[in-house]
Symmetry: C2
């Protein structure tokens, strides 16, 4: 019989099939590598095929927009946001409109044409994470922005490009706090007010004690399949030490995060045959401390983490209309399967 | 330049491309009809290939689970919910679990093997809607249920079956109110408390006045592309007269709804070449009137409606992680395009 499980953060219910559970081989995983690749604008040497770089980690003596870099950040050509102008919020009758002030940047994570971070060396992955931290710190200085989302779309079914697969992540800085983030903040604040403990710290404690949903347990990080996983093989990576803002990550934690990501994505690549996936960094919004009466709790009631969601099932009308997910693979089975996949890093 | 628009109900922001807008021909719409059909268990004469019927609109003299019906309701074979047993809610450490008490039913909307409701006659479509009303009324009697979702998955990209395409909708009754519904109720309640008017009635008034997002304006119903549409060609169908509960729909309204649905889905079928889509009925939860201190507003602060969402773009990491949607087609363009598609019904 399935089980209804409640997500402790935002109160979302998930139906988990615990008997007729789907094993990895039951899924017809549409392989992420599903496009014919042509010329790659993100490879080293092709710098003139992207907009001018915003930032790059360059080797000594190399020039801007020329070869000689480890990571490179360029504006997205999607044209969804504009970095220029002042925020203007206005009404159209009862509706609210804003001009699209924001930033949309592409972090090219490697000069080599890898297609997945599992193919990168841990020290290179650390540079990619370093780059993300530096970009978020820089964007946070812009008083117009309230939130910054770091994410990756890998494979066409996860919204990635079919023809340009070069390993990269994206950053979008927005002038409003997105609803999904607000829900999480609200949920974790209510828990904190009641328990005077961080919700995520409690989750980590319970998961490490039971062990059944742990995928990787390292010095500073833990990767788990969450209790109320919405998707098969959903994985969250959390720092063990309480920390609300990703940008406050310490060097040894960042090194460990790179290592854990290498392990997690290698397990997904090997165990699910390079599945399409998204990951998203959930971190505290900018300038939370400025809200009156709120100062004392800012460091206590939120906990940054990375949510990894493979896209191997189809979300249908019921999920969209209700926010009530159906997951055919128990997270305990997913964690066991992923733990047993041997990867050498 | 794009525009940031706020959904007035749940406060979600959507980025709408108003300049580099995508027209219908820009989408590589994956046609909904994408599977090889085999034997259909839902066609008249194949009654012994489904579980025994829960309900049917039968012609005089016909027998249960035999031919001679207009609509037929059978339990879903997905096995996600069980109708038997008592609700048991328990904790596992800090987590919450419930047994999967619920109902999951399939409404076979026609004895003929149509694949889309646009192919059905209006009077037959009315019988299908009648059937939905009767099933919701019946499920509402069950004290264990809090909500009932009526929805349709059309085409594989919308979560529909690839091989069995017989026209049908589904009903799921749940022992908890889903988060997405709670968000809408919260948003519309806040608006009502402030304005003492129904949020949806105000939306309808403004839309009918401006006309630019109206797709169909009929006697009792209006179909619009919402101001902050998440998806290209998203359409909402609302009753003009205020009504919180779908089951309180009057006969003339139901007849008109069938007609408007026939028009809307014919326009989608013709204009977007049978796109995959979902629709979901959003109606008030069961037994709202029983909550103390809440009685007076139950008929005022919510308004049932049907949300139709074609699945012609891919939702990516940014949307999933933020609840912040990117829509490449302005609803004004979508409404104009749909208005101009000539359909005869």
């Amino acid at each position: 019989m399935p089980e209804l499980r409640k997500d402790p953060i935002i109160g979302r219910w998930v139906i988990i099939s615990v008997e007729r559970a789907m094993r990895p081989n039951d899924f017809k995983v549409s392989h992420a590598e599903d496009g014919e690749e042509d010329f790659c604008p993100f490879c080293e040497g092709h710098e003139d095929h992207t907009p001018p770089e915003i930032f790059a980690m360059r080797r000594p003596g190399s020039e801007r927009n020329k070869p000689g870099w480890d990571t490179r950040v360029v504006p997205s050509i999607s044209g969804r946001f504009t970095i220029h102008g002042n925020l203007e919020r206005r009404g159209i009758g009862m509706y609210d409109v804003m001009n699209p002030i924001g930033a949309h940047e592409v972090i090219i994570e490697s000069p080599t044409h890898y297609i997945d971070i599992s193919q990168m060396d841990v020290d290179k992955l650390e540079l990619a994470l370093d780059t993300a931290v530096l970009r978020i710190v820089d964007l946070e200085r812009d008083q117009r922005f309230k939130y910054c989302l770091l994410f990756k779309n890998h494979g066409a079914r996860a919204g990635g490009s079919k023809t340009t697969r070069h390993v990269r992540s994206q950053i979008i800085a927005t002038p409003v706090t997105p609803t999904r983030v607000k829900e999480e903040l609200r949920g974790s604040r209510i828990y904190y007010q009641y328990k005077e403990r961080c919700l995520f710290c409690d989750i980590i404690r319970q998961e490490l004690e039971s062990g059944i949903r742990v995928v990787v347990d390292s010095m500073h990080m833990v990767a788990i399949t969450p209790f109320a996983s919405r998707f098969p093989f959903e994985i969250w990576i959390l720092p063990k030490k309480h920390c609300a803002d990703f940008i406050n990550i310490q060097r040894d934690e960042l090194k460990d995060l790179a290592r854990v990501m290498k392990i997690v994505f290698s397990k997904l690549y090997k165990g699910l045959n390079d599945p399409p996936y998204n990951y998203m960094l959930h971190t505290a919004p900018f300038r939370r401390e400025k809200r009156s009466g709120y100062w004392l709790t800012i460091k206590e009631d939120y906990h940054w983490h990375i949510e990894v969601t493979p896209r191997i099932t189809q979300v249908a009308g019921f999920e969209w209309g209700s926010g009530f997910y159906i997951n055919p693979t128990p997270p305990e089975d997913a964690a066991k399967y992923l733990r047993e996949i041997d990867v050498t890093i």
